[in-house]
Symmetry: C3
Subunit: 356 residues, 3 copies
């Protein structure tokens, strides 16, 4: 669906100081370098400043420092319309604009409980709850006001979903698990599968093997948490696995049993966190990082992509550990030499002794 | 189902020059070293040439250079039947043989729309479309002629599935997303979940946290694309995420928002590509590779397994960056020394100065 | 559900020598450092021995060597009750205790075939089979006695599920695949998607592209196998993909076509094993490891986290290959120097020559 709004509508909804014509029509949101004369764009990162004078956007969201340049760009870029919205934090304004835009362009259908859903009579659904087709809701589930449960979700016995939380299609929430208010859970997420725990029993000849440790804990997820597609969060072994308020997880993340993630920590796709590790608040963990079990990471720790964290970190900062890529022929030489690195150090020491 | 065919049937369907008896019965396809007297096998890689004289296969698919050896092998290997099919590209012939074989041994059931499916009346289904049990098809969906939608799939509002495309069980296609013709999508795939985008808003004491950037783009997938189980392809933030024609993705791949993958690029399992990265055409990316966001990779770039690509690549070639494994005791020494590598270089320089 | 049992109940069910009062009430199982006066705890790893004298647990499961300390701890820790259960392997006892506990606290509902399930009339269900809501069971499926199939599972044509095996919600088992007895399969698992195989055909201008190799094998899974959430096990290209008895897989593991995993091998989350690789028995593979295709690993091989195994391993032992992480500034220096490592070795050699 495409529809046209006017800058006046945006300002009325989101604030900001308008430089230019309030009736300027806007048909889309676009990056500076892809914007056309019906687009609104934004300058959040000063490194894209050069694009400001070139953009064809009808309106640009800018910080006060760029207000003059944004208003003046008309002549340089040869655009007919060169409005600007001035706001202290253009990226935040842009985020709110996308929310306002989505609410207008993709209005939610009225809530209904689809007749094909299989809902245990003991389940308690709050006012305005939307239940999609072929959903399964087991006994003693509680779903808060205004929550929306997408098609094919399965909510296990005794689970609780907070008010206003939205589950996309095909989310699985295990028995006894909890999600707070205003959460967003994408398709294919599995909350509350068993953690991976076994006792070895290889002494006896018969019945030898790994003996399962039943996972007796649950998963507890706070408010305002978003969880990306196909991410897994296992239930705890004895105590619960915990995600605090405001945590954001991308796709295909693995959270093992008894992990604890502090509030407002954001984790990018394909990262794995092993059992019982405690991540602080306000951390950011880049994609495909791995964090081994039973560690503790302080608040405000930042981890680079594809890094293995193998020890606890008590000091805020940025930590990295990815192998630098290069052309294969060079890599082969350097990687082979890496296996001799300790020996090279010893040889260097000996040379140093000779030279003193 | 196992059934027997004769070499004449294969030749009639797939071509090739037959050396040997056209009525030779074939019951299975097998590798050279596992073949028996009712098997057809193939020699594609000359490094397996030694297996040719040993194989028990009734028939071997070979290139012209091996025709003589293939026909002569009867005596050496002591096999009663030693037919050969000679063709310029035995591996390609083998691929087509598997397709012919599958079509015979696993014939598709006649198309039907299963009565348990929940299909919005506004959806448009082409001729011969097959809809499995408990499928959900939302409003304004369009499904092309002969497409097959497996059980438990969810096709979101306004999505389009091309002619002849097959979705296995439990595939999720988000609203507004498109898949071209003749595609194959395996179970658990999630197309069109939200990309991972937030603006930080940690200044105010209240309502502090990450502010969601609604993802306003879609996913556009070309023709002849195959997507492996549990792979995720996120919708774009403003513009679309794009897979061009002929792209092949293995299982558990993560494609972030606004990624663009050029035609005929093939990507092995568990690889992750971060947001806005552009991969060229005819690339191959091995398993568990990671490519950071906002990069550009040229056509014909090849990436080795478990490599992190952290910068754009403008030159075709093979790029690698995996840590070489070794016995743990050696690894511990070398990895510890790696943390001193820059210092070692400095010490080496000083020694060099002393020695000049 | 929380309920109270007495130590006498545990001893009756699980054995062990009780030191202390048989009527001691127990309300929960907890780690030593989180236990309260109604908890039972265990000391499995001697490195936690110091916690024994401090724990508030009513009862501690210990090995004979710690029996005295466990019984004596009452005075030190100031706890009213200080019972102990003495057993040769406290961790194994703990595992069995969790099973006994789960059976009491989370009793299984009586088996039923939910009326919303779509079951082909040719399927054969053993006695006491439980089929959840909205399950799809295709033609010629066989499900063994007492198996439990969770909501939204799809069991493809001709698949076989062994006696007593439990599938959580939303598991997909492809046509012709087999799972043995007493298995546990968690949500989102995909068994029997196509392996990733294509023949290149880029010579002709038209119809150029990757040509699919139909995957004609199945997946065969032994008895007592557990498979974690969202893990994928692809069907074989010609022969089958095989998991032997007692294999344990964590979440989000990728098992490619024709992999063979020996009995009682355990693999942690996010590990990927490429095609045709053979893993021995009694191996352990840590999380996020990657094993390239066509390799062979001996029995009793152990692989560390985030390690790429790129060659076959014939000798039991522990193998590692992860890049050591550090603060980003140091990493940048060391990683940049790593690209010169081979050159540094050459320079060192030259210096050594000069110094001899």
């Amino acid at each position: 669906m495409t529809t046209t709004v006017h800058l006046a509508d945006l300002i009325a909804a989101l604030g900001g100081d308008l430089l230019g014509e309030a009736q300027t029509p806007i048909a889309r949101i676009a990056p500076l370098d892809e914007a056309d004369g019906q687009s609104i764009s934004f300058l959040a990162n000063p490194k894209y400043q050069a694009q400001l004078s070139q953009t064809q956007a009808a309106c640009v969201i800018v910080a006060p420092a760029f207000a003059e340049a944004a208003a003046a760009r008309g002549a340089d870029a040869g655009v007919a319309i060169s409005a600007a919205i001035v706001t202290p934090d253009p990226y935040l304004y842009f985020a709110r604009l996308t929310q306002w835009w989505a609410a207008r362009m993709r209005p939610q259908a009225p809530a209904r409980v689809h007749p094909s859903a299989v809902i245990d009579p003991s389940a308690r659904l709050g006012a305005g709850v939307d239940i999609g087709p072929l959903v399964v809701i087991e006994a003693d589930v509680e779903i808060g006001e205004g929550a929306r449960i997408g098609p094919h979700c399965v909510i296990g016995q005794g689970a609780r979903i907070g008010a206003g939380t939205r589950l996309s299609a095909s989310v699985t929430v295990g028995f006894g698990c909890q999600i707070g208010a205003r959460g967003i859970v994408h398709s294919g997420v599995v909350i509350g599968a068993d953690g991976f725990g076994f006792a070895p029993n290889f002494k006896a000849g018969d019945a030898s093997g790994w003996v399962k440790i039943e996972q007796l804990g649950n998963v507890r997820i706070g408010d305002d948490v978003e969880i990306g597609a196909n991410t897994c969060i296992d239930r705890g072994a004895l105590a619960d696995t915990v995600l605090e308020d405001g945590v954001k997880l991308d796709n295909q993340i693995q959270i093992a049993h008894n992990v604890h993630i502090g509030r407002h920590t954001a984790i990018a796709g394909c990262t794995a966190i092993a059992g019982s590790t405690k991540i602080g608040a306000f951390c950011t963990i880049a994609g495909a990082a791995n964090i081994v079990g039973h560690l503790s990471l302080a608040d405000h720790v930042h981890v680079s992509a594809a890094t293995l964290i193998s020890r606890s970190i008590s000091k805020p900062g940025l930590y990295s550990g990815a192998y630098p890529f290069e052309e294969n022929a060079s890599w082969e030489k350097n990687a082979a030499t890496l296996r001799q690195l300790h020996a090279l150090r010893t040889r260097l020491r000996e040379l140093e002794k000779k030279n003193t």
